[in-house]
């Protein structure tokens, strides 16, 4: 009997016993669906982390001179205290690096704090105030929706002008234009000159609740003591140039801090690598845990299918006897039942893939987790599903194939 015939027969049997088949493919269904969904999440978050997250937080080919790393998961208290004892980054540090670097770069100052921004009697609380220099918008890739960013001249002269995040503009001005209006930031009046385009959110954190003002404008006193900044941002043209600029900056800073060769840096040159390393750790956990879940459900699925097939062989002993008496060889019977278990598992896997893709779409819609279906996981899902069917079918099918036709025919 050709395999196609066996498969057609298998599908017929499945359709004739819908309920039983439905239950029997549940295990494989769950296994494959969870494989696809989990893989999609890992895949999506991975892409997100490496592409968007790192860029949003740091910028492309950008490093930041800081007292301590920006992204600091699982840091012991002792390390934290050591960081707090470090000298802070000064305006003069930033200026020295700007002058000392031989690599073409663009740079920006950055200091941050949470403030309340108000317009008339409207207030926007917990807004991130960033006191930055003019190239900040370029480095962070913030495009201006309406109005304009502030200029270098405005920065140096400390002109009280503000560029609002989209959420702040909406909160304070609804649909009216904020350009030219005067808002109060920490009690200081600022003239709104621009609004940044919608940034969305990152892992559920809104990215539009901010306001950017010139680093030397009056609000600098709200974020840091005089002459101090949180970070000095340096963006190079390429990764190679960024690394070269980093080592130059490191040398300049060590000289300024009078560090002896054996002393560690008491500052950091922070890049997106830290975040990515942290994410790589998480994704390693996912990569070890997900296969575990998948394997467990596939094994359960396999056992269920094997049981169903053993039941089917027992129920259809007479049919097997009849088929043998009509000329079915052992391998024909073996094939028939293998095809049946494989069909059950493959149908389960197919539904599992559809459910997995559906789940991915739902996750994308309803949760901040970015997910995208990986084609490899679909292929793997089909292969594993069919594989489970074959493996689970071998024992029942070989039992069926070995049945003695006389005994089988006599079975009631």
């Amino acid at each position: 009997m050709p395999f196609f015939e066996a498969f057609r027969l298998a599908i017929q049997t499945l359709r004739a016993q819908k309920l039983k088949s439905g239950f029997s493919l549940l295990g494989v269904f769950v296994g494959v669906a969870s494989l696809i969904a989990a893989w999609s999440i890992a895949n999506g978050v991975n892409r997100y982390m490496t592409e968007k997250f790192a860029q949003t937080l740091y910028g492309v080919n950008t490093f930041q001179l800081r007292r301590r790393p920006m992204f600091t998961p699982n840091v012991p208290d002792s390390v934290w205290r050591a960081w707090a004892r470090r000298p802070r980054i000064r305006f003069s540090d930033a200026e020295a690096i700007s002058e000392g670097l031989t690599i073409p770069v663009i740079t920006a100052w950055e200091s941050r704090d949470q403030v309340t921004v108000s317009f008339g009697n409207k207030e926007a609380r917990d807004i991130e105030l960033t006191a930055a220099s003019e190239r900040y918008f370029d480095i962070k890739n913030l495009s201006i929706e309406i109005g304009r960013p502030f200029t270098g001249e405005e920065n140096r002269s400390g002109t009280p002008v503000a560029v609002l995040g989209e959420a702040v503009a909406k909160r304070l001005f609804s649909d009216r234009t904020p350009i030219g209006k005067s808002v109060r930031i920490g009690g200081v009046p600022y003239r709104v000159i621009g609004v940044v385009a919608h940034q969305g959110s990152i892992l559920g954190f809104p990215l539009d609740r901010f306001v950017v003002v010139p680093a030397l404008s009056p609000a600098q006193n709200l974020v840091n003591p005089p002459g101090i900044l949180d970070a000095f941002l340096v963006k190079a043209h390429s990764d190679v140039e960024m690394r070269e600029a980093m080592s130059q900056a490191e040398g300049i800073m060590r000289g300024r801090r009078h560090l002896r060769p054996k002393q560690d840096n008491n500052f950091v040159l922070d890049t997106s690598e830290g975040v990515q390393r942290f994410w790589a750790g998480i994704s390693r956990i996912l990569v070890t845990v997900i296969p575990g879940i998948v394997v467990v459900s596939l094994v359960i699925g396999g056992i269920v299918i094997m049981n169903i097939m053993l039941m089917a062989v027992a129920e259809r002993t007479r049919e097997i006897g009849l088929r043998k008496s009509l000329g079915a060889r052992r391998r024909d019977v073996l094939r028939q039942f293998l095809a049946e278990s494989t069909a059950i598992a493959t149908v389960g896997a197919t539904f599992g893939i559809l459910a997995g893709i559906g789940l991915t779409i739902v996750i994308n819609k309803l949760s901040p987790l970015p997910a995208s279906v990986s084609p490899a996981s679909v292929v793997l899902g089909v292969i594993m599903g069919a594989g489970v069917g074959v493996v689970a079918g071998v024992y029942p099918a070989s039992r069926a194939a070995r049945l003695d036709p006389i005994t089988a025919l006599r079975q009631e």
Partner: protein, 243 residues
């Protein structure tokens, strides 16, 4: 009827002899005791004979039936079917013989309940490796032969007992076997339907089909032209009847 060859070990049957058993024995090891179901059965059945095998239960007629049907292999002795020695063939070769040479008709019909008449009749052809179109044509032809040309798409539960047995007969005939082997073909039928089925057998025999039928009913055996009676694993009587 031609003369019966005196067969000795090492001989080959005459071309007209469809079935030849020589000193056929079959023993079952039941653990504590050895059951000798057949103790040396030698029979010859010619082409186009219509033979009934009779005997009380335990006489060995089912065992003989299974051996003739190539569902079982003998402990010793020879079995020749259509000029081929099948007594020492392996499993897969026996399956091929069953497929090509033997058409089974069972007491309980043994139709696949979920398949329609046409598909039931097609089954042997699937194992013969025929194409789907070829199969359907031949199955339809076989069903017409037993007078069920208009019931091809009916499932077994939509057919009467007699019709079911006709489907089974069509299935047995579809591969044009050397022998039609029927095991109590009327055992599950009322007397009217039994007569009807016997009529079908008679017709097929008339068309040249060799028929071997196991039964314990005298009036059914009466339809055959020769009756072999078994008792305690040996042939007790073997006589031709007036047809």
């Amino acid at each position: 009827m031609s003369t019966v060859q005196l067969f000795r070990t090492g001989d080959t049957p005459l071309p007209d002899v469809i079935i030849l058993t020589h000193k056929l024995t079959r023993e079952y090891d039941m653990g504590s005791e050895l059951v000798r179901a057949l103790r040396g059965v030698s029979v010859q059945i010619q082409k186009n004979e219509y033979v009934a095998v009779m005997g009380p239960s335990g006489s060995g007629k089912s065992t003989l039936m299974n051996l003739i049907g190539c569902l079982d292999t003998p402990t010793s002795g020879e079995y020749w079917l259509n000029g081929q020695k099948v007594s020492d063939l392996a499993d897969d070769e026996l399956a091929r013989i069953r497929n090509k040479e033997i058409g089974f008709v069972f007491q309980t019909f043994n139709l696949l309940p979920r398949a329609d008449a046409l598909h039931n009749v097609e089954l042997p052809l699937i194992y013969a490796g025929l194409s789907a179109r070829n199969r359907r044509e031949r199955a339809a032809h076989a069903l017409k032969r037993v007078g069920l040309g208009d019931r091809m798409d009916h499932k077994p539960n939509e057919l009467s007992g007699g019709q079911r047995q006709r489907v089974a007969i069509a299935r047995a005939l579809v591969n044009e076997p050397s022998i039609l082997l029927a095991d109590e073909p009327t055992g599950n039928l009322d007397s009217t339907t039994s007569t009807e089925i016997m009529g079908v057998f008679g017709e097929l025999h008339g068309q040249g089909q060799t028929v071997v039928m196991v039964t314990h009913e005298q009036d059914i055996a009466a339809h055959a032209e020769r009756v072999i009676t078994l008792r305690d694993g040996i042939v007790a009587t073997d006589q031709a009847r007036a047809a």
